[in-house]
Assembly symmetry: C2
């Protein structure tokens, strides 16, 4: 069925609709351009219109109208995703949830919040109310929405302690609206959460989230420098294994990342130094200092509670997770990245093996992460981009060595995962989005169940660039 | 030098001194009788007098006077230790810190407290102040002192999350008074803590503690029943490895422990059922229930927030740690126990091996514990006591199989540990207790540096039974 955009726009004209082309273009993009591959494939993608509902009732109205007129709907939180998750591949409506940002209820250990609330605003409300904060956040804490994080993200600052969003207990409940002729409102818990969590809004719109909280502390942020990269990686890993020392971040940057890409850190490190970025609870600092003194090769070059730097670096977490790639890109636009899993128990050895094989074409950037109760590493390796073929080759070399890749140069759920359909997500899409109008092109299993994954998927209905 | 008890008593008569023989006898004992071996060796031990100082100044006075008159001093918190730690082997003065119980300062993430404060009172103060609580406590939470826990204990409820007391970060600072001619007051942090932590007061009196706090939640307490013991053990271990599910306790009881020894649980389990005792954060319950439903062999028989039991069991943590032994002893006085380390990664296999070898003479009681970032088990196995020789043989069988024993049938630091002197504790004793008057007989290295550990140590100056 051909979408009737004009009719849909007319029917929704009483809502907050964006008309200006430049604004529509801006709200049709995320940070997909981190990938030269996605930059090439998606740069032209643009919505037909953008609507910003103020309530769940207005969300339902938008979905009903777009259903009736066969208009695709792609949801937008804050548009900071890296894989084009919020980009409308077939045009249509972008539904921007910026106005749905209320923090509804704060309780001991949990909060109920609307999806469009920025993570920093959520934290501010929880701190003011009861000295609490979210367990984990994407390093885009200052700009991203909590709904976008759950729908499009995976983990981040805090995952060294609490694991990933998909781990049991890290999301309590999601309230979801379907895109049926008569949209239904469903509350998901337990096994149901995986249907819509990290599903890019392809099968339902999250209109309310209930997530756990942790105590808010005045985290001490630090940089520690090492002459030896594996020493830096071991330091971070061992620290995360100290059960009595509470941390929220442990990032590892292979030389010369800090020197070349972290402008404010540069005066304090040499080109040959690898650096660890940390967040440690203030009441764990005595324990941390004891741990540190046992490791004379570790040089504490910065601590936020006693800074000697002329120009302070700002939040240390804004050097890690995918901010590392951002900073590198600002210096060298030919840099891109890969997402690597270095699983327990061979994680340290695998990092060393990959580094020996591919450095400095690939520079190691590790984030300490917990998986099934074990400390391991997520790699967000910096890659000097030359050609797509070489990038695919580098991916293949990682996988052959045992380091799983979660490809950030792809816009589909499956290709960003493990090349298989998530059956729970597909089944729920069949129920909740019978016309296949929600964020089309992002779930291969919907459009092309027999896809062989032998090459990059190209959504047949992707708007043409011309 | 022969102690001049009369002179010491006279010099301290203005303080709170206990005169009555029955009270002196009671304050000369702890829960040593859990061990038939220690019962045999120490039953007659009694102080010459008991003094209860009200302040650090009075502690100093007691130490000065006893130093001058060569009177041994053994410190008492609440006297709930299991190895005779607080028992005055050579008589003399028992210094009871019951009056020094003030909670001095509560801050985000830490508290400063006097040693005689009962752990339950400390928790109550922190909760009322700022919804905080101690990270870990001995299951004698209701009766033990925080100073006695640090000086004589090891870990307990909360250790499944935070590790043991000896792990970096679990004690911040200890204020210690020496027993020199002029007692000195020292503040220990970092590496210094190990000098006096778990040192049985043999080298200094702790007069103030600074320890970390965690958020106080209304923990949901549960019992889960299994037809298969290894299924129960795996369940508890896997739960503790769920990074998003916050727990404070995971105890495992081999059948028929719950049926035979837990009176209020008995109506709800069969003889053949093994049971897991849990404390889970309320906001982690959805995650826990999801985890539980994936394991149909696990039967939830009790939850504190929705109890269907006619007679509720009371605190589930008072069934675990060393309360299991207490409950077993009440039914069968011939039961004793062992302390076992089932280290990662072979912990489950080792438990199975030991159980196959020794059940039901030895019944498995496991406590989930973290060690170096990994979930593993502490065993507090119930043992049907026959002879000391057989008990020693059971110890040997464990050690041969790879399961380290921390022998609770010994009253010395070394024998309760790994049969070696802790050099930091010995060196500090030389400095802080030059006359060797603090809790004599508890540190073999002080009295007998060449001891061979080929048999149970008998302190030469132990009061004679006759
Ligand atoms: C510098 C940088 C650093 C980053 N660091 C991290 C990191 O540490 N961890 C991490 O996981 N990601 C990271 N990201 C990616 C991204 O910033 C985060 O995932 C962020 O939390 C996404 O939130 P958002 O509001 O911007 O989502 P958007 O980009 O707006 O949306 C993300 C996806 O969710 C869908 N969506 C949004 N809201 C809803 C809803 N209410 N219902 C259903 N679907 C919805 C969208 O359609 C889209 O598919 C980073 C990106 C950058 C540029
Ligand atoms: C049923 C039961 C369950 C138990 N469960 C646990 C458990 O889960 N974990 C655990 O670790 N233990 C356990 N224990 C042992 C004991 O209860 C705890 O270790 C408890 O915390 C000790 O505190 P207390 O005040 O009773 O110490 P006490 O017995 O009074 O003293 C313990 C030792 O510390 C010394 N001491 C006391 N105060 C000071 C001070 N201020 N300065 C220097 N030295 C001092 C004493 O001389 C003695 O050597 C259990 C015991 C029983 C009977």
């Amino acid at each position: 069925m051909k979408p009737n955009v004009a009719a849909a726009k007319a029917a929704l004209s009483h809502l907050d609709i964006e008309d200006k082309d430049s604004a529509i273009k801006a709200k049709s993009r995320d940070f997909f351009w981190y990938s030269p591959v996605l930059k090439d494939r998606l740069d032209h993608v643009v919505a037909d219109f953008v609507v910003s509902p103020r309530s769940e009732a207005e969300v339902i109205e938008v979905l009903k109208v777009c259903y009736a007129h066969d208009v695709p709907v792609t949801t937008r939180g804050a548009g900071t995703g890296n894989y084009g998750q919020a980009m409308p591949l077939a045009g249509g409506c972008v539904m921007h949830l910026q106005h749905m940002n209320a923090v509804k209820e704060i309780h001991p250990g949990r909060v109920i919040v609307e999806p469009g609330c920025l993570i920093k605003d959520l934290d501010a409300a929880c701190k003011a109310d009861s000295d609490q904060e979210v367990r984990m956040f994407s390093s885009t804490w200052a700009t991203a929405s909590i709904g976008g994080f759950i729908a499009g993200g995976s983990g981040g600052v805090g995952s060294c302690t609490w694991g990933s969003l998909r781990d049991l207990g890290n999301i309590i409940r999601l309230r979801v609206v379907t895109m049926e002729e008569e949209p239904r409102v469903l509350n998901f818990r337990g096994e149901e959460l995986a249907r819509v969590s990290h599903a890019y809004g392809t099968n339902g719109i999250i209109t309310e989230l209930e997530i756990p909280l942790a105590p808010a502390y005045d985290w001490v942020e630090m940089f520690v420098a090492f002459d030896d990269f594996m020493g830096a990686a071991s330091f971070a890993e061992e620290l995360a294994n100290q059960d009595g020392i509470l941390i929220k971040l442990a990032s590892v940057f292979e030389a010369p990342i800090a020197h070349d890409y972290f402008q404010r850190v540069k005066p304090h490190v040499t080109e040959g130094q690898s650096v660890v970025g940390l967040m440690v609870a203030p009441h764990s600092m005595d324990g941390f200092e004891t741990f540190l003194k046992r490791r004379p090769q570790a040089g504490l070059i910065y601590r936020s509670d006693a800074s000697t730097w002329e120009r302070t670096p700002g939040a240390v977490f804004e050097y890690g997770w995918n901010h590392t790639t951002l900073r590198a890109l600002k210096v060298d636009p030919s840099i891109t990245y890969l997402q690597v899993r270095y699983g327990f128990p061979g994680h340290l050895g695998l990092v060393e093996k990959i580094r020996d094989m591919l450095s400095p074409e690939v520079l190691q950037h590790l984030e300490v992460l917990r998986e099934n109760g074990k400390v391991m590493f997520a790699g967000l390796s910096l890659v000097k981009f030359t050609t797509e073929e070489r990038l695919d080759e580098i991916v293949r070399l990682h996988e052959e060595a045992g380091a799983m890749i979660f490809n950030p140069h792809r816009y589909t759920l499956e290709e960003g995962g493990r090349q298989t359909v998530d059956d729970r997500q597909l089944r729920f899409k069949k129920e909740a989005d019978p016309k296949g109008l929600l964020n089309p092109g992002k779930m291969i299993a919907w459009d092309d169940p027999d896809w062989s994954y032998d090459r990059m998927y190209a959504y047949p209905k992707l708007q043409s660039a011309g």
